[in-house]
């Protein structure tokens, strides 16, 4: 079977890869190699069968009923909003209200680790995330025709994007926050746009001193460090 370029470097990496034990940057490089190396692709698929069986060996446990209640409450809420939005005309975009020297300090309550909730779909952010006057900051976009804004309210920050293309297969969009002089920090905001290219994502949590909000593409499930360049960048301070 043919091998791809740089095969020697990756000859023993298939097992590490399917176990999820390659560091994020190496993982992306290995996936590039896989695309060009039939031998490694075949071995990866073979070993993946064993790796995918591993979770079944975990001692059987039943999740607490309260966990389902919490998850379903959020799902029902979003399903209702989605249903409402599907029957109503889309809101006209609000005029941009860019404010320079805006700081998040003290605006968003700290709740420990940054957490995020995301609703991707054809419904307006303002309907979801509080009613106080939002402050809007435009994103710089590397994708032609894609526009996005970051809306800051008392309840959090919301990303509203339009004409956003679907991410590559196996990828989702992911939101990152960055503080001055520091590496981007992951949030749990992972999203894909709806068919009309619209998407809305919200980020809440400890946003103290956040300087930049970034959006890039990552493997489904997200990453702990960015593996691709940002496609959307907003400077918030």
């Amino acid at each position: 079977m043919n091998v791809g370029p740089d095969h020697e470097r990756w000859a023993d990496a298939a097992g590490v890869y399917v176990l999820g034990a390659l560091p994020t940057d190496e993982c992306a490089a290995y996936e590039d190699h896989l695309a060009a190396c039939p031998t490694c692709r075949a071995e990866t698929e073979e070993l993946r069968v064993a790796a995918q069986a591993l979770p079944l060996s975990a001692p059987a446990m039943r999740p607490p009923p309260a966990l389902k209640s919490r998850i379903m409450a959020e799902v029902e809420r979003e399903a209702e909003l989605l249903a409402s939005a599907s029957g109503a005309p889309r809101r006209a975009p609000e005029p941009k209200r860019r404010r320079f020297n805006f700081s998040l300090r003290g605006v968003i309550p700290a709740v420990g680790l940054a957490c995020a909730a995301l609703v991707a779909g054809a419904f307006g952010g303002a309907a979801l995330f509080g009613s106080s006057s939002p402050q809007t900051i435009p994103f710089e976009s590397t994708i032609s025709n894609t526009s996005a804004e970051l809306e800051m309210t008392d309840d959090g920050a919301t990303i509203v994007a339009n004409n956003l293309p679907l991410p590559p297969e196996g990828k989702v969009y992911m939101v990152w926050i960055q503080k001055p002089g520091q590496a981007p920090e992951p949030t749990s905001a992972l999203f894909t746009p709806r068919r009309d290219g619209s998407a809305t994502a919200s980020v809440t949590g400890d946003m103290d001193a956040v300087e930049t909000v970034l959006v890039n593409t990552e493997p489904i499930g997200g990453s702990t460090t960015p593996t691709s360049q940002p496609v959307l960048t907003a400077s918030v301070s």
Binding site: G20, L47, L54, R62, I220, T224
Partner: protein, 197 residues
């Protein structure tokens, strides 16, 4: 966008692969059915990895909300819905382990015994799951201890191969080789046990 909010009893008759597009259209009942079918295996995996009930619940909440919001990305050519869901949970658990640095703090199984809520074999799905678990554990039992150890540290511990090499004071090449050989042996054993994830 049309939204098909189906009756829960009707939805239960659908296969997983049919529920995914319904969920992607905003059908909460389709999502709920998928949750009921797979949350047990998902929670078991999350708990096995993070070793703490509260953190396991966070992992499951993140993973299933991610599923709800990105269901359109399921590709049936790459495996079953369960495999896909467990892959998301695995990813999330690794993130949680690395984010919370709980590797060092994780307690032993004995310490966490009080938190465990072992699943009783009450329904048919539980019994089937335990049969599968038995076959997979059997396939793991055939591995030499050094191969099993690196596989468990990587998959359930969320450690990278370089971290495992440091931990075991073994060359990185040795660790990679053990993972590869171990998985190959498991694959063969599973083929004899005829279990697929």
């Amino acid at each position: 966008m049309a939204r098909a909010q189906t009756d829960h009893m009707d939805v239960r008759a659908f296969a997983d692969e049919d529920l995914i597009p319904m969920m992607a259209r905003g059908d909460a009942r389709a999502f709920e059915t998928l949750y009921e079918r797979h949350s047990g295996a998902a929670y078991s995996l999350a708990y096995r990895m993070v070793g703490k009930q509260a953190l396991a619940e966070d992992v499951i909440q993140e993973a299933f909300l991610n599923l709800w919001r990105s269901g359109a990305h399921y590709d049936r050519g790459r495996g079953s819905v369960r495999t896909w869901i467990l892959g998301i949970v695995h990813h999330r658990a690794i993130d949680a382990l690395r984010r919370n640095s709980v590797h060092a703090k994780r307690r032993s199984d004995d310490d966490t015994a009080a938190e465990r809520l072992e699943s009783p074999e009450r329904v048919e799905e539980d019994v089937a799951r335990r049969d599968e678990a038995s076959i997979v554990r059997g396939a793991m039992d055939v591995l030499p201890a050094d191969q099993l150890k690196v596989i468990e540290l990587a998959y359930f511990g969320g450690f990278t191969h370089t971290e495992i090499a440091d931990m075991l004071e073994s060359p990185i090449g040795t660790v990679k080789g053990r993972m590869r050989l171990g998985l190959k042996k498991m694959r063969e054993a599973l083929a004899h046990g005829a279990v697929e994830a």
